[in-house]
């Protein structure tokens, strides 16, 4: 048994190392409270809906979310009519028609969110050479996940610390690797007006949009965790039965 424990311990240590190794290289990112963290956590739908508003009114002027179908938003509580209305708010390129020409039509929920620029070069040309990254997977594509997104969005500083010279067109951010980022500080107090009356502080906006980005990065997260609880409970019961059977069977040997 001792060697078994050691073996399990070694495996756990090895796994811990893999995570520790990734975390150690970046600036310390403060942890935030998320309704979706933990085993039983679920996405805060109201917050994600507010986050969608920020994505729509602020982020999506420069950033795409091209892997995400609009219908995905059903997962944060929009009903079918609302989805159709949201989709119809976008112009989507379709075609070619019978005359062989591409044309624009109002979006439908099955469409993916249209990108603000036709291609990466156009995005760079409009943004001082910097490419605003796609947001579809942003919450999973950065060390620190949604905590990093929150820290980044609230981590801009008007004046860089002494000794730091910003390159032209760059902005200082405490949490961005290298600290110089092309994106400006975009969240302003009351920069958006929330329909549900929530005060739109910068922290609130950063929290809401990070929740939304977490949702679109992994729309099935709630379903995954809920299934996980059932699977693990089932396996624990099964393990108990297996162990009892094993004990009973092996007891006949002695």
């Amino acid at each position: 048994m001792r060697s078994l424990k050691s073996a399990i311990l070694s495996a756990a240590v090895a796994l811990g190392l893999a995570g520790a190794a990734q975390a150690s290289e970046a600036v310390h990112i403060p942890k935030q409270e998320w309704s979706h963290s933990g085993v039983f956590g679920t996405i805060d739908k109201a917050s994600a809906q507010r986050g969608f508003q920020i994505y729509k009114e602020v982020c999506s002027t420069c950033h795409s979310a091209k892997l995400v179908p609009i219908r995905t938003l059903a997962g944060i509580g929009f009903n079918e009519d609302e989805l159709k209305a949201i989709a119809a708010g976008y112009e989507v390129q379709a075609g070619p028609n019978d005359a062989g020409e591409m044309f624009m039509r109002p979006g439908i929920p099955a469409d993916r969110f249209p990108s603000p620029f036709p291609n990466d070069n156009a995005a760079r040309a409009a943004n001082n050479g910097a490419l605003p990254p796609d947001l579809s997977l942003m919450a999973k594509a950065r060390v620190g996940g949604e905590d990093y997104l929150y820290a980044f969005l609230t981590g801009f500083e008007e004046n860089p610390p002494e000794g730091v010279t910003l390159m032209p067109g760059m902005n200082y951010n405490k949490y961005f690797p290298g600290h110089q980022v092309g994106m400006p500080n975009i969240l302003m107090p009351d920069g958006v007006t929330y329909a549900d009356g929530t005060p739109a502080t910068v922290q609130q906006q950063a929290h809401d949009v990070s929740t939304f980005l977490t949702f679109i990065a992994e729309p099935h997260m709630d379903a995954r965790k809920q299934m996980g609880v059932k699977v693990i409970l089932f396996l624990i019961v099964l393990a108990g039965l297996m162990y009892a059977t094993k004990r009973k069977l092996w007891s006949t040997l002695h």
Binding site: A20, Q22, R224, G228, I236
Partner: protein, 422 residues
């Protein structure tokens, strides 16, 4: 192998088939009556766990392959389509991706169990070497599988690892071009990696069947490292070990499910959720955790060719292990000095893993170098000498003697005759 009695089948269809093609007799011998030493502990379950993992990987991989598109322009998006739009696609992919890690955990524990109890020694040398080949096939399969999502780590990992072959003089560069199917990691590379990633698990399966066949010739080792001398020392595989292994498998599945459902990306790297971009190199190119000790060895040697040879040597040395360990005593239980060095080796492997995750500079480079030197010292110098110098403790006369203090009742249903090797 024990010469068990021929089973009598009641079912006329089974009887008819068996008299023409004795597969049922074979299964009965190998998985029903197969005598297991009665003193094996739960570490012996990791062979079964690894086998289950292979089956899970092939089953989920088959379904994923039906949805995946191996082309650089759409590979990344097709994986995201699996995650978002395919029914339970997220489940299949997370089971598969985390399954690779679980497979390695099971196999590494299985190997360290073999090291501790001397399972590689005569007459199990070929069994052990087949195991080393399984490890190699797993590594190749896992590496190519990690390339398929075509994220940043996929692309750059593939670039770094395939470039290793350029270290060989004269033939190096042509080999790399041949591996790539071009002059950089690109669509031909992705295509062939997908084809090979689909093929290799079946090679792996073949090796596993040979591994099991070789195991069933010599019989399983046990914590005492002495041969079973008769039915009093063994239990029939079914039901005793099936139930015991079954329990262990379920416990392992709980550990596995915790990752799949609650931390599915913990063992991955965030950079792999960024589509591959040949123009942007990630700050740190880090392989998956199960390659980290070997990656540390690779980087510890200042010379590129030397590093590559040391990395492959670290696995080759395992194949030579049955002849490097000169001690006749198998189990660490009776080798007080080797037992301590075993744990030092285990710690060394973990330290190398940690160093492999760190940037190869400063103190971590030094740690990796010391760890690498110790790794080879252990196998090439310590083990041959220790077998000659160490004075093993006295071995018990039989398995059942220390277990039951003077012989026990024969297991119900155990009809196996004494093992030939006894």
């Amino acid at each position: 192998m024990a010469q068990a009695h021929a089973p009598q089948f009641k079912n006329p269809v089974v009887k008819w088939i068996d008299s023409r093609l004795p597969i049922f007799t074979m299964l009965d011998h190998e998985y029903n009556q197969y005598p297991m030493p009665r003193n094996v502990n739960y570490l012996w379950a990791f062979g079964a766990i690894a086998g289950i993992m292979l089956v899970i990987m092939i089953a989920t991989g088959l379904v994923l392959a039906m949805q995946y598109a191996a082309h650089t322009t759409i590979a990344f998006d097709s994986v995201e389509r699996i995650m978002r739009d395919v029914n339970y696609g997220w489940l299949l992919r997370y089971v598969h991706a985390n399954g690779a890690s679980m497979f390695f955990i099971a196999v590494y524990i299985h190997m360290f169990r073999g090291l501790y109890y001397g399972s590689y020694k005569a007459p199990r040398e070929i069994l052990w070497i087949l195991g080393v080949l399984i490890l190699l096939a797993m590594m190749a399969t896992a590496f190519m599988g990690y390339v398929l999502p075509w994220g940043q780590m996929s692309f750059w990992g593939a670039t770094v690892i395939t470039n290793l072959f350029s270290a060989f003089p004269l033939v190096g560069d042509p080999i790399v071009t041949w591996l790539w199917g071009g002059f950089s990691v690109d669509n031909p590379t992705l295509n062939r990696f997908f084809a090979l990633h689909f093929l290799l698990p079946f090679v792996l399966l073949g090796l596993v069947i040979l591994h099991t066949a070789a195991l069933h010739v010599s019989g399983s080792n046990n914590p005492l490292g002495i041969d079973a001398k008769g039915p009093q020392d063994t239990v029939p595989f079914n039901p005793y070990v099936t139930v015991k292994d079954g329990f262990a498998v379920v416990v392992f599945l709980i550990f596995y499910a915790a990752f799949v459902f609650f931390a599915p990306n913990y063992l991955g790297h965030p950079d792999n959720y960024i589509p591959a971009n040949p123009l942007v190199t990630p700050a740190h190119i880090v392989p998956e955790w199960y390659f980290l000790p070997f990656y540390a060895i690779l980087r510890a040697i200042p010379d590129k060719l030397g590093g590559v040879l040391a990395m492959f040597g670290a696995i080759a040395v395992l194949a030579a292990l049955p002849w490097l360990d000169t001690s006749k005593v198998r189990s660490c239980k009776f080798r007080p000095i080797y037992r301590q060095f075993f744990w030092i080796l285990a710690i060394d492997a973990l330290v190398l893993g940690y160093a492999g995750a760190m940037p190869a500079e400063g103190v971590w480079l030094l740690v990796a170098r010391i760890g690498t030197a110790y790794y080879f010292f252990h196998f090439l110098i310590l083990l041959p000498l220790l077998g000659k110098l160490e004075r093993p403790l006295p071995l018990p006369a039989s398995i059942c003697e220390p277990v039951l203090k003077g012989g026990g009742r024969v297991a119900a249903g155990a009809h196996a005759k004494p093992m030939e090797k006894a």
